[in-house]
Symmetry: C2
Subunit: 595 residues, 2 copies
């Protein structure tokens, strides 16, 4: 079985030293978000995830969820229910929700390390509370007062959980095709009828009620994506005064058999005239749903990060223990029957790849979360606007890169184990299987790439990119004479300039032919992610040097940054060449025809 230890030292370094989160929180008016409070959250979070969630991970994979076909009731794996009760009792559910609804009122970014720990400890379990946050956001921003009163409090306290019911058998990305119907009733409610698939935590035994946020069409709805409305549909009916009543006409029809996250219930949900309530304006449901989706996308990015870190931790330990062959330059441990495999450069290549992507990715993911707080709470409108642009720009990068790197890191970490990595008992293959979902759900990597290039760069004229580049430029200027950083600042500045030029070339091509956006999108997104990471690595070294961290810590950061710039950042060369080849390098394939 793979083990997990929350990386508190690096989490603190990222949050407090690199990103200066404490000062930002104070500036944003989160007076209670002091270093002491945040440290306590980190330590208690580590205890909860390491001792309660992590031990359930392997059995959850083996046993999975089960469905009682007669009742539609889903049973979660052994221990999941008890762990969830502890999660609620510990006040974790509402950590970053508003105090007026029973939350702890901490900033969004303060919840992010906890999220990473939960995902690393037990991704499948983490999917049960995950979408409560999205539902909370949607209700906070678009719900009527009585809806907030009735639904928000139990969600925030964790007594109920939430879902996002978007996908139907014939439409995932293309929600304009959805068919679920909503009929208005005399009492102001609606009856919802249709089938939704891939509903994470659609049913389970952790709570008494489940709050489904459902996209459906009103009778007078325009066709396509402009005719979609959002409804709240509880598993157990609730009236406007919050009284629960009969079971609603919604039930789980089947559970999907999946490659991984077996402990997470992925449900087909049948709505058969279920009672629901409209959230926000008619036909404006997709916009309300986007509120949930952005939060969910950043959260899925953290899933990739958490799994990568757990995979790395185990691969590091195994590579230190496993004795096999001698170093090419001569035995390093002649008293042992062989050298530990960590001495072999190729094993180090795999470990350092994970380390560079995990630690750099952590800064990237946490920074995006901090921008969410700034976008919502900065006193200055200009600062809010800029942060909002950064969030929009960074969200697809964080989601896609951290999950693609999650697939990559779990691959390398498993590879370090050799054949043993393929065997279930070591737990490495579970991490790889679990990671595989993250580049698919909440928008595939291809969809994130289109969001970045088509919307954030082209439609919004790259306002987020400009803000980010200004930040990079400022940092490079500040450290222009810092000899100890010269090996990073020069290449970073050069790469940032190339990024800008590349963006202009892509923009020019796309203006001539919109298909150029699709041809460039994926490589543009990955290119961007590697430059963003180069910036965070350079800043991590600069921050470490100036900090009170140990010399070993500083050396470690510098060595990993050196590796990153030498061996990972050059991937941008391949991505740039692919982008520059344009749609001409991507010939069409016959739509009809033999395979």
């Amino acid at each position: 079985m793979s083990s997990y230890q929350a990386p508190l030292t690096d989490m603190r370094f990222v949050l407090f030293d690199v990103l200066g989160a404490e000062a930002t929180f104070q500036r944003l008016g989160y007076t209670e978000a002091t270093r002491d409070v945040l440290d306590a959250v980190l330590e208690e979070g580590a205890r909860f995830t390491e001792t309660v969630l992590a031990p359930l991970n392997s059995e959850g994979d083996r046993k999975g969820c089960s469905l009682d076909q007669a009742t539609g009731a889903v049973t979660t794996p052994p221990g999941f229910k008890q762990a969830y009760a502890q999660y609620v009792d510990g006040g974790w559910a509402g950590l970053t929700s508003p105090a007026e609804f029973g939350g702890q009122g901490l900033p969004h970014a303060a919840g992010v390390p906890l999220k990473e720990m939960i995902d690393a400890a037990n991704l499948a379990w983490g999917n049960f509370p995950l979408l409560s946050h999205g539902a909370t956001e949607a209700l906070l921003h678009h719900g009527e007062a009585w809806q907030q009163e009735v639904f928000l409090k139990p969600l925030v306290e964790g007594r109920w959980t939430g879902t996002m019911c978007l996908t139907e058998p014939h439409c995932g990305t293309d929600l304009g095709l959805l068919k679920t119907r909503a009929e208005p009733q005399a009492d102001g409610s609606y009856t919802i009828t249709g089938t939704k698939i891939f509903i994470t935590a659609g049913d389970h035994d952790l709570t008494d009620n489940i709050v489904h946020l459902v996209l459906a069409r009103l009778p007078d709805a325009p066709s396509g994506s402009k005719g979609i409305s959002l409804f709240v549909v509880p598993k157990v009916r609730v009236d406007r005064d919050g009284n629960t009543g009969a079971v609603n006409a919604v039930r789980c029809g089947s559970l999907e058999h999946k490659m991984g996250i077996h402990g997470s219930a992925t449900c087909v949900m049948n709505f058969d005239g279920a009672q629901g309530w409209l959230i926000g304006q008619p036909h404006k449901g997709l916009m309300a749903m986007f509120t949930m989706m952005n939060t969910a996308r950043l959260a899925v990015g953290l899933q990739g990060l958490g799994l990568s870190d757990r995979a790395l931790q185990n691969a590091l330990r195994y590579s230190r223990e496993r004795l096999q062959m001698r170093a090419l330059s001569g035995a390093k441990f002649p008293d042992k029957p062989a050298d530990p495999i960590i001495v072999h450069p190729d094993v180090r290549r795999m470990l350092l790849t994970c380390k560079a992507l995990v630690e750099g990715g952590r800064v990237m993911g946490y920074d995006a979360a901090l921008q969410v707080d700034i976008a919502q709470h900065a006193a200055d409108a200009g600062e809010r606007e800029q942060a909002d642009a950064l969030v929009g720009f960074l969200t697809p990068i964080v989601k896609a890169c951290l999950t693609e790197w999650g697939v990559e890191c779990t691959y390398h970490a498993l590879q370090c184990y050799g054949g043993h990595g393929y065997i279930a008992e070591h737990g490495m293959e579970q991490l790889a299987r679990d990671a595989r979902i993250t580049t698919l759900y909440e928008g595939t990597t291809g969809i994130q790439a289109l969001d970045l290039l088509g919307r954030k760069i082209m439609q919004l004229q790259g306002v987020g990119l400009k803000a980010f580049l200004a930040q990079v430029s400022r940092f490079c200027d500040e450290h222009a004479d810092h000899a100890a950083l010269a090996e990073f600042i020069g290449p970073l500045r050069e790469k940032a300039t190339q990024w800008q030029q590349l963006t202009m070339r892509v923009g020019k091509n796309a203006a001539a032919n919109p298909d150029e956006i699709g041809a460039a999108a994926y490589d543009y997104l990955m290119y961007s992610g590697y430059v963003v990471l180069a910036y965070w690595w350079a800043r991590s070294v600069a921050t470490a040097e100036a900090s009170a961290q140990s010399q070993a810590f500083k050396d470690d950061k510098r060595a990993t940054a050196t590796f990153y710039f030498a061996r990972i950042l050059p991937r941008t060369l391949a991505h740039a060449a692919a982008i520059d080849s344009g749609i001409g390098g991507l010939p069409s394939l016959p739509v009809e025809g033999h395979a």
Copy 2:
């Protein structure tokens, strides 16, 4: 469930048109290996694999193998035994084995398309007959006459299967550490005692006997890898006259629970004073085992190829059927509710990546097999020697690249399905799980990389590389004035030159510090693989143009080659940068310490 159709058109194109295999076979004296015979083998092989093996693949994954703990007997999934009987009845087992032992005497390369089909249709099933070939090779080259008489015939006919028993719990790559003991007996036999792990097809119900090839130490053995001997240990005892007797003291102790290839029995084998016979010279077992390993490595490369092709076939079909969103440049099928996703450039990027790696990889894999035939049967000693150098050089590239690309292609193909790819019923996730073993067994990618750079380039002074580069150079010269090929010939020549220069730089670094070999090995191997593929793509276009293939076929080859040169070959830029950063870009990690 994923489907499979043997790609006979492309197989024929590769074998006969690009590689000119028929003429080569005739030249090597395989008079019976005519086009007619080979065509019949392809067609019958397609029928067998498509209709017998492929339908068992999904259930084999779900049911897996089971072990009777009381007897140590392994039961294979439903249908496997019947399919194996058909395989034996069809004469497939001995297709490329010598006629004197009951084989059909066809050349090695003639069996390779069948191998690809078997792996694509049902990788887990394919692992049962797989190592019979290795055992056959070892006995042919190193066995005494009576051993050949007794063991070879049933292996060739398929009445018995073979295994390779190398790995022990504490040693995989580093066989010098192995502990299994062999004690000489008065009758000339040996008693073998020890535990072997990861033994593919170690026990099963397909045949009455199993021939284990086992590495063990004699009492007077020097320590390390120079003290290892090879023994043949049948499951059921056999005397020198071929009479079978009592069950031998070898049994399966447990089956591994694995990420994939559930239908393949991966056994812990306990040898408890089992009767065995020495193969070849005492203490020279590792060399004899290498005979088996090279064959097995090329075979595992084909596994990656087969899975990639099956994944691609299904992703292509799905991408043509699945309607989602409109093309960015405007609706392509306005009468449908949405366009098929194959019109989206990013979906094409994934499909074309698979297509370029599969079709190019097929030439690479088949060519290596053809070199094996030339190395063994060419009349001219110089030609044999050169082919032998090419086999040595190409084997690690074929094994590592085709399997790494297998992981990549099954990733892309699954990704084309979106969330549906993660669901078991579509069969795409099984392909991804099955593919994951191929970069691990028969030597990890890292081990292949060391074999290529440390042994084939450095120790053997790149004789195989030189032969390959000469081939590339000849081809470029021949087509120097061929305007229709200019877009490929120029970049190919340039890349080949850079490859040569890179090799010299690596060699110089390595001479100064042997750790530089380890630092460069993986990236050097992948770099090499991409250049090799560029050559085969250029040749594929040249061959297609000059052939009687349809215009659609020619266009298809050219389009895929264009894609390859534009969007895949640039990966060499990233690999070259990583190589050139040397050991300095790969800092050491503390052997002791926190994760």
